[in-house]
Symmetry: C2
Subunit: 209 residues, 2 copies
């Protein structure tokens, strides 16, 4: 089965939209999704940015919030602006890394996104993350401890460095097995199509048909 | 008939993709397109940017070129990176403003985009613009002269100021009659849907159906 890597950051609004729909879209396309948490902080710093571009360029940030609000509503999802934005997703990403090795990474990721963007909870709060782990049948204390092991911390760092080596500059980002990079929730369908066909030829005809 | 304002800048790669497909998409949606040339230079300057964000953030710029190349190929359009990028579209925008009052603005705009992104010509070159005007049955010298009248120059300046008052920060931008702003070629379908329905509710069901 063809595979698509889904690189996401917990602070990212558009990653939220993708996380909530990628499995259904991938199933329709016959593509397997590999969930890849990483951190945008170092990625932005590598571009000379001290925070999210949406904070640096407020007109763009304001439009992003309205855009996500419109799309979320049409998808039947809640959306509120996190305060502060962006949220600190470091602990959540460390946990997700473990969950993605086992079979609960995608469920955990969706639950964190809903806590953050639907319920307006602080995802840097370990109590919030513990609640989610508990609801997934995981032992919160044991998982939190594993997530903060030197090995796991180093792994998240390495995964973020891989993202930078792959020229990622934002999230969500999709990578096909033949190395094609697609950026943004609005490119998910193209990324899935490319994962199967190694081209976009026919993509728009398919839409019209 | 519902209308949608299509704000475009001649240097903008994604405006090219939109210009080549908006009339067909709008016809299918039953929406009238109003073509609005403006200048991104002052818009970027208002955000503290001295050039295109694609030049300031090279990773993003590199991805943009690949993204446009993939989409253009799938649309059956040529694409080459203009040199220099961005091109200076001032004269073309002044002419388009006149053409959009008459009945040749859209044809002129598409021809300029093809000259720039398909044929790799310099759109700041009046000879290139004259060729296009001639091919459209216009008198190049007369149009160029009108385009450089103080009144027409002031009008393009005013149109760009309007764009800034409407919080535009890039191109293409779509504005619905009820004041909803959509940014980017990838938002054209949503903008057309909103122009008719004043909501995105039902937009994704429509796609799946």
């Amino acid at each position: 089965m063809k595979a698509l890597d889904f690189w996401f950051e917990f602070a990212s609004t558009y990653s939220y939209l993708t996380a909530m729909r990628i499995e259904a879209a991938a199933r329709r396309a016959g593509v397997e999704v590999r969930w890849k948490p990483f951190l945008l902080g170092p990625v932005f710093a590598g571009q000379g940015l001290s925070t999210s571009p949406f904070n640096i360029y407020p007109l763009k940030g304001g439009n992003m919030l309205r855009d996500v609000e419109r799309i979320a509503a049409a998808m039947g999802l809640g959306f509120r602006t996190p305060d502060p934005f962006p949220q600190n997703g470091l602990t959540a990403a460390r946990i997700a890394l473990i969950g993605c090795d086992e079979d609960w990474g995608a469920d955990f990721t969706r639950a964190v996104y809903l806590a953050e963007f639907d319920q307006g909870r602080q995802i840097s709060d370990k109590a919030v993350l513990s609640d989610i782990l508990h609801s997934l049948g995981q032992d919160p204390e044991a998982v939190l401890q594993r997530s903060e092991s030197p090995e796991n911390k180093a792994r998240l760092k390495a995964q973020t460095e891989t993202a930078m080596q792959l020229n990622m500059f934002g999230a969500p980002t999709f990578m096909t097995e033949d190395g094609e990079l697609f950026w943004g929730n609005d490119r998910l369908e193209q990324a899935l199509y490319w994962a199967r066909h190694h081209t976009l030829e026919g993509f728009f005809e398919q839409d019209a048909g």
